[in-house]
C-alpha cells in the first residue's frame, strides 16, 4: 500500500488492515441503523415525533462517527493534531452555539422531568403567557395561547420559568370574593350561595363548598366562596358561579354595595 504513503506520508498499512477498517465502518452503519430502529420504538411512546426523529438521527450519526474514528485510528491515522484543532474549534462553536446547546439540554430535561405534557393548559408566570402545549421539540416548545396564537418558546426559557400546570391535578378550587351590604342578613346570603353551589352539577360535593365571612371591609362584608371543580371544567364552573351569585343575590334583594364614603357636613351655625 505504498501509494497511500505517497498521498499521506507516514501512513503504512496492509490491504487486509484496510479491509478490516472498512468492515468496522460498515458494521458501525449497521449498528447505527439497528440503534435507530430500536430507539424509534422506545422513544415514540415517550416523546413527540419530531423530537424522537432528531434523537434517532443523533444516535445514528454518532454511531457512524465513532465507528469511522475507530477504523481510521486502527489504520494508524494520528488524530492528535485534529483533536487539538477540533478542541479549539469546539470552544469557538461552543461559544457561538451556547443558547442552542442550552435549549437542547433543557429540551432533554423537559422530556425527563415532564413538568408539562402535550395538551396541558399552562401558564408561564414570568412571561405572562397562558395557553395549551402543542408540541415539545428538542430546541423549543409550541404553545397555542388562549387567544389562538401559536407561540414558540425556547426550551431554556420554559424550563427555567415558573410554570403553572392547570391540569396536572384532577381537581382545582374556585375562589371568589363577594361583598354584601352591612345591613344584609349574612347567614341568609351564605345559605343561598351554598344551595346554589350544591345545585350546580359541576361543583364537587366533596370537598364540600365553603362560604364564610372573610373580611369586614370598608364598604361591604366580604364573603369568600370556595368550591372545588374537576380541572377540565374549572373555567366554566368559575364563570357560572360568578354569574349565579350575582343573580341569586339580586333575586333576594341582597345588595352588593359599591365603594362608598359618608360625608358629614359641618353645622354652618356653629
Amino acid at each position: 500500500m505504498d501509494w497511500i504513503n505517497t498521498i499521506i506520508p507516514g501512513l503504512n498499512f496492509t490491504a487486509g488492515q484496510l479491509l478490516f477498517a472498512l468492515i468496522v465502518i460498515v458494521v458501525g452503519i449497521l449498528i447505527g441503523r439497528l440503534a435507530r430502529m430500536t430507539s424509534s420504538r422506545v422513544l415514540s411512546s415517550v416523546m413527540s415525533e419530531n423530537t424522537s426523529n432528531l434523537v434517532q438521527r443523533i444516535i445514528y450519526y454518532s454511531t457512524i462517527i465513532v465507528a469511522t474514528l475507530a477504523a481510521l485510528s486502527y489504520l494508524g491515522i494520528d488524530f492528535t493534531g485534529a483533536l487539538l484543532a477540533g478542541g479549539i474549534l469546539g470552544i469557538v462553536i461552543g461559544f457561538a452555539t451556547q443558547s442552542v446547546v442550552a435549549n437542547l439540554i433543557s429540551g432533554i430535561f423537559l422530556q425527563i422531568d415532564k413538568p408539562v405534557s402535550i395538551g396541558d393548559p399552562i401558564g408561564i408566570i414570568d412571561e405572562h403567557l397562558y395557553g395549551v402545549i402543542l408540541e415539545i421539540n428538542i430546541l423549543s416548545t409550541s404553545i397555542r395561547t388562549f387567544d389562538g396564537v401559536n407561540l414558540r418558546i425556547p426550551n431554556e426559557r420554559l424550563f427555567t420559568s415558573k410554570i403553572h400546570n392547570f391540569s396536572k391535578y384532577v381537581a382545582r378550587r374556585v375562589v371568589i370574593t363577594v361583598g354584601i351590604a352591612y345591613q344584609e342578613d349574612i347567614q341568609n346570603a351564605i345559605d343561598m350561595i351554598i344551595k346554589m353551589l350544591n345545585e350546580n352539577s359541576l361543583v364537587l360535593a366533596e370537598p364540600a363548598p365553603l362560604v364564610y365571612v372573610d373580611e369586614l371591609a370598608d364598604s361591604s362584608v366580604n364573603l369568600s366562596v370556595r368550591a372545588w371543580a374537576p380541572s377540565t371544567v374549572w373555567f366554566e364552573v368559575r364563570t357560572q358561579i360568578v354569574q349565579q351569585i350575582k343573580n341569586i343575590l339580586d333575586e333576594s334583594g341582597i345588595e352588593i354595595p359599591f365603594p362608598q364614603r359618608v360625608l358629614w357636613q359641618g353645622d354652618s351655625q356653629a
Partner: protein, 254 residues
C-alpha cells in the same frame, strides 16, 4: 306493563317516554328519520339517520353512568346510607343501588352506535383521595337494605357481599368502582350490577371485585350496551397495553 329497555323498529311516530324525557321519531323523507328527545318544553337533541328497508333499529338500554352531563369521570362512588359496620373476619350481603344512564342506539346487522344518552337523576361529582392523586367520581347516595329496592330507569340494583378480612371492627361508608369494569344485567326493566363483593383488607384499604357473572340466575347481560363496553375495553387495551381488571383497589379509604 310493556318493558322499555328494548329494541324498536324505526317508524314514523314512534314515541317512548321516561318520566319527563320524551323520545320521538319522525319520518322526513323516504329513508330518513329525525330523532328527538324532549325534556319538558325543551328539545334537547336531534339526529337524522337513515334506515333503508328496515335494516336499522332503535335500541334503548341502560348504560354506565359516565356520559352525562359529559364524560367528566369514569369512576362511581356509592355512599352508603347508613354506613355498614362489620365485626372482624365476618361477611354479610346487603342490597344497595348504583346510578345508571339510558343510552339510545341505532343498530344494524354489523354494528351499533350510541346517538344519545340521558340521566333521570341529577349528576353530582366528588373527589376521592387528594387532588394530586385522587379520582373524580360520579356520586350516588344509596340506601342500604336487606331487600332489593331501586328507582326504575334511574338506578341499578346491587347485591353486594361485604367481607371483613381484617382483625378489627370496621365501618364501610362508601364503595368506589371503575365504570369501565361495570357490566349490567337486565330482568325486564330492572337493572342489576354484575356479581360483586367488597373485601376489607385492612384499616385503610378495601378491594372491590366485579366477577363478570350475573348476580342472580337467569339474568341476561344488557345486549347492545355490552358490545359497546367490550369494544371500549379493547380500545383501552390497544391504547395503553393494559386490560381492564375486574378489581378496584380503594386505597384512599372506604
Amino acid at each position: 306493563m310493556k318493558k322499555k329497555f328494548d329494541q324498536y323498529a324505526v317508524k314514523d311516530g314512534l314515541s317512548i317516554s321516561f318520566r319527563d324525557e320524551q323520545i320521538t321519531l319522525e319520518n322526513i323523507s323516504e329513508d330518513s328519520y329525525v330523532y328527538r328527545r324532549k325534556h319538558k318544553d325543551e328539545t334537547i337533541s336531534k339526529t337524522i339517520f337513515s334506515s333503508k328497508k328496515g335494516e336499522v333499529k332503535l335500541a334503548i338500554y341502560p348504560v354506565r353512568p359516565i356520559q352525562m352531563p359529559r364524560q367528566l369521570a369514569h369512576n362511581i362512588m356509592v355512599k352508603l346510607n347508613p354506613p355498614i359496620t362489620l365485626p372482624p373476619n365476618s361477611h354479610v350481603t346487603h342490597h344497595l343501588t348504583m346510578p345508571i344512564e339510558i343510552g339510545v342506539f341505532t343498530i344494524s346487522k354489523k354494528s351499533n352506535y350510541m346517538i344519545d344518552a340521558f340521566s333521570l337523576s341529577f349528576p353530582k361529582y366528588v373527589l376521592y383521595g387528594q387532588p394530586n392523586m385522587g379520582y373524580i367520581c360520579r356520586l350516588h347516595n344509596s340506601i342500604m337494605s336487606s331487600k332489593e329496592k331501586t328507582m326504575q330507569y334511574e338506578e341499578a340494583a346491587v347485591i353486594m357481599k361485604f367481607q371483613n378480612k381484617s382483625p378489627n371492627w370496621t365501618t364501610v361508608n362508601k364503595i368506589v368502582m371503575d365504570a369501565y369494569m361495570v357490566d349490567l344485567y337486565l330482568d325486564g326493566d330492572t337493572v342489576y350490577l354484575e356479581d360483586s363483593n367488597l373485601v376489607i383488607e385492612d384499616d385503610d384499604v378495601a378491594s372491590l371485585f366485579l366477577n363478570n357473572k350475573p348476580p342472580l340466575r337467569g339474568l341476561k347481560e344488557v345486549p347492545v350496551a355490552a358490545e359497546t363496553v367490550k369494544k371500549f375495553r379493547i380500545d383501552i387495551l390497544e391504547r395503553t397495553g393494559f386490560g381492564v381488571a375486574g378489581k378496584f383497589i380503594m386505597e384512599h379509604g372506604y
